[in-house]
């Protein structure tokens, strides 16, 4: 794959953070509440802790091999076939994740913003935008993310602040919710939402200083955990766990609740911007990553020819589930449960293997001889 230039560390952080942030506008808070009950807000911290440990194990490999990413290291450690299998697994998962997000999002738009619209009327413009985002590539994605990141955070904070009059601390009890073990197991399960490990393992090499990738990893994990926790906490403070479990679009519900004075009311439409923008960035990034990995696997110098094919498959795959509940079920029961394997286990395995081989000196010698 041709390397076109360097990424800014702020921009890459913004992209990674925005991709993770998009989950809170979908069904993630509901899934967490269903798993952890009143203690759902603790789950993100457990997930973040797992991801940080993982990152601490594997991130040094990126520093030790500047200019190389997970793909080149996988090829060196696992051989062409092994690396190809790993990449295909990642692609399959990301494709499923993208299709699920795509369908969930379009269904959500129909349900909440544009009722009685045909789904293709919503999906096609979204798909075109996604393709454009993926087509422009990592540079454009990072810049747009960094341009809007503050706006996204401001929107989230104002959404919570404007709902503060509905919060009730009693809803936080029982403190351990469905139990500490469930919280821990939930933390493990929902660590699959932290795609930052995978993204940084692939694109961290585009930074000028590989050490920045390590910092971005920690910062993005920590910041995401805080945002997830605050959102879920606010959600559970406003809706009791029983009601939260029945609210598929938590932030939309929060937006609907806003009523301050006579002139600030029902602001859910105002948050459509943040919601659509984040979904677009997330799905666009996933499509770009899939195209990038496929292009790498096929030894293509550029990824753009693949983007439109991936988009077509995405569109077809998104409509395989018959209804929105079926998508939600697939997402909750399958993707979220196995997501961690791709989100951090495969990257960790590859990078750790690279570190191990490097530690043994074989790789270093081979490199030295080659050079």
């Amino acid at each position: 794959m041709l390397k076109t230039g360097y990424l800014g560390r702020r921009e890459l952080f913004a992209l990674v953070f925005a991709v993770l942030l998009a989950n809170v506008f979908l069904t993630l808070p509901q899934q967490m509440v269903m798993h952890g009950g009143a203690a759902a807000w603790m789950i993100p911290f457990v997930s973040a802790m797992i991801c940080m440990i993982v990152w601490a194990v594997c991130a040094p490999a990126l520093v030790m091999h500047p200019g190389e990413n997970m793909l080149s290291l996988a090829e060196r450690c696992l051989g062409r076939i092994g690396a190809g299998i790993a990449v295909l697994m990642i692609c399959l998962f990301l494709m499923a994740e993208a299709a699920s997000t795509f369908r969930l999002f379009t269904e959500m738009v129909i349900t909440t913003v544009l009722p009685r619209s045909p789904i293709s009327f919503i999906a096609i413009p979204f798909l075109l935008s996604v393709l454009y985002y993926a087509y422009t590539g990592i540079e454009g994605l990072t810049r747009v993310s960094s341009l809007f990141l503050l706006l996204f955070l401001f929107g989230l904070v104002s959404l919570l602040a404007l709902n503060s009059n509905w919060m009730n601390v009693e809803y936080l009890f029982p403190f351990w919710g469905t139990g500490p073990l469930r919280v821990i197991s939930g933390g493990w399960q929902f660590s699959g939402a932290f795609l930052n490990v995978l993204l940084l393992a692939v694109f961290g090499s585009l930074l000028r200083n590989p050490a920045d990738a390590v910092r971005i990893g920690y910062w993005s994990t920590g910041a995401t955990a805080v945002v997830y926790a605050v959102m879920v906490l606010s959600f559970t403070l406003i809706f009791p766990p029983e009601a939260s479990m029945r609210a598929p679009f938590p932030l939309y519900q929060l937006g609907r609740l806003i009523y301050i004075g006579q002139f600030i009311q029902r602001l859910e439409a105002a948050f459509v911007f943040i919601w659509v923008a984040l979904a677009l960035i997330k799905v666009g990034t996933l499509v770009f990553v899939i195209s990038y990995l496929i292009a790498w696997f096929c030894r293509m110098p550029v990824y753009r020819p693949v983007v439109f094919s991936v988009g077509t498959i995405l569109y077809a795959l998104a409509f395989v589930p018959e209804s929105w509940p079926e998508v939600n079920m697939w997402n909750t029961n399958i993707l979220m449960k196995v997501g961690w394997t791709v989100a951090w286990f495969i990257p960790m395995a590859i990078l750790w293997m690279a570190r191990w081989k490097d530690g043994k000196g074989e790789d270093r010698d081979a490199h030295r001889n080659a050079s």
Binding site: L2, T4, G5, G8, R10, E11, V109, V113, L114, I122, P125, F126, S129, Y132, Y133, T136, G137, E139, G140, T142, R143, V144, S146, L147, F148, Q262, F263, Q265, R266, L267, E268, A269, A270, V272, F273, V276, A277, L280, P301, V302, Y303, R304, P305, F308
Partner: protein, 737 residues
Amino acid sequence: MSVWSKIGRLFAVDDTILDEDFSLLGKTKGRSGSEPESAQMPRQDDPPEKEPPEEEQVAEPEREPEDGGSTNRIKYRKTIRPRKIGRAAQVEKDGSEAVRESEGAGGEREPKATQASRGDDREKAEQKSDGTGREKDAEGAQKSDSKGREKEAEAAQKSDSTGREKAAEAARKSGGHGRARETEADVQQSDDDDSSADGEGKETPDDLEEEAVPEKIGASLAENRERVEFIFRMPTNADVVIRDFWVVDHVPVRAFAVFLEGLSDTKIINEYVLEPLMLRAKEPTNGGKDDLLERAREMLVPGNQVAVYDAWTEATKQILTGSTALFFEGIDKTLVVATNGWAHRGVGETKTETVVRGPHDAFTENLRANTGLVRARLRTERLITEMMQIGELAPTDLAIMYVDGIVNPALVEEVKRRIEAVKVDFLQDSGQLEQFIEEPPRGLIPRMMATERPDRVAQSLSEGFVSVFVGQSPYVLIMPTMLWSLIHTPEDAYLRFPFGSFIRLIRFIAFVAAMLLPAIYIAITNYHPEMIPTDLMLTIAAAREKVPFPLVLEVLLMELALELIREAGIRIPNVIGPTIGIVGALILGQAAVQAAVISPLLVIVVAVTALSAFTMPNYNISFAVRTLRFLFIFLAACWGFYGITLGVMFMSMHWAQTKSFGVPMLTPIAPFKRSSPDVIIRGPIYEQEMRPRPLYPQSLRRQTPFTRSWAPTTHDSEEARRKKAKENPDREPRSRR
């Protein structure tokens, strides 16, 4: 590029990798070494490089001895032959290789005499060629051989200008330079066949002139006069004045002056060119030189810009800029005196970038006055003005201005590279140049800033930008530019920073409102009425009750009416200008509401939108905003907020990847570059320490960190103490008060 090629490229090529984009970091893509790729690989639509035609290369050595060494004259006479494409082309079509050989590389047909002199091979080839026409040609060529040579030899031996004068006379009578050339050719070849006359006039005037004018100025005054007349298409062209006179020297010398009426200052010519030469040349010269040209240049002509040229191209160019060229008998050079003095508007007030506080002068339709306005402000010897010309038919002067030692040299090179690549007949305005050199060429937002304010150009130059002045254009281009700069005004800096920030924030809000307000109104009213407070919603519903149109049509009608008023306001004669205000107010305000064509609230929305658009300080960005507004209206009508959001995101992505001369348009925010507080809000002037980092200027700092060192808040600050401690590590730091 065809549609299919474009689609193929879309699917197969990563333009971010393969384009010829360049970076100010110095890494140039698609170029090898210092040689630009465009220079190595000419584009398909580029004109082919002009090479001397094969005919000339062959013919010249043969003619030299015949013409007594007058190379210029040979070229002149030979190349004015009109191209024969009438019958000869038909012959060529018949498939005769022999006749094809007789044509030059440029497709020009050789004179028969030359053809004959080429030797036996060609004659044989012509004779062998079948077909009546070709036989005639061959016959003509044979006949013309001896006669043509005799004539030319005669002309060369005589060396007087009688024949040429006759030819020139005939040309003048014929009333056109095309005919003049024909007559000249007839003098050259008295036995010219009919075929050459048949094919005349097929060549473009430019081609003919380039070939006809010799390179060097001759020593014969009559010949030079003849050539001047030829070059300037006299007497058809009435603008050119040739003034014959005698230089009253110890030995009187014939001379003539050439200048363009209306372009040159006749008073200067009379008093400072003709008068000294005609009346005072004989005066004692303090043992002056014998060479008249040198004497004239150094002692007689008191012009402040005097130059000597020996090439016709340069002399012509200077005359066309308003200078007066002086030719003397027996001197093969011309003395050019700057007498430029055409009428132009004086420095006036700004029309489109007015400010309350700050300079009010604006550029005018005079290149040198414009560069002077900038130089008067930015008085440094490092301010460089490089002159260039664009235009094949009529060259337009260009001035590239930058500050040496600050500007990134790669930027200057890139600007020059792009400008040099522009091959166009005539380029009149900076707006046209902008379209030629911007990249990518499609897109709504301007990729460079056009300004009429000298202070803005001066400030930009001091920050490391490059500015380009184009001919008589009163708008100067500043490049590169960032999106944020297009919403700034110079006044932001002249006001105290809280007010500068305030008006800038207002403008940013206006920028968004001008694009999105009608769309948001449609989205809320049609799709998200729950957002509107109940009382307001009832009011809107009541106002819209009688309106028969759908909301989107109502908005489009109003926007269209507003655009009409705006366009009419620009085109309408000044005398009846105020009428447009009355008509607009009546149509948009009262009448439309009373007729229940639109709702009153919409009038407010459209008026606020229009006001917002008027706040845009850059004319080009206001166009972009106006165009995008209609796009967002469409999106809102179809999808409400969802559509607006997708549109905004799409547009943002487009802007995020758009670059102006290698600088991303959204920088220093995306990508982030540490910069002085002068992007969204205007920080205090003493904090504007850095030049724009995205330009990678040679010198980043533009002021010292402590510009207010006298102020207690400054010299007692922690930062100051640290700096002092760093500068004087031995001294004990002063305790904090």
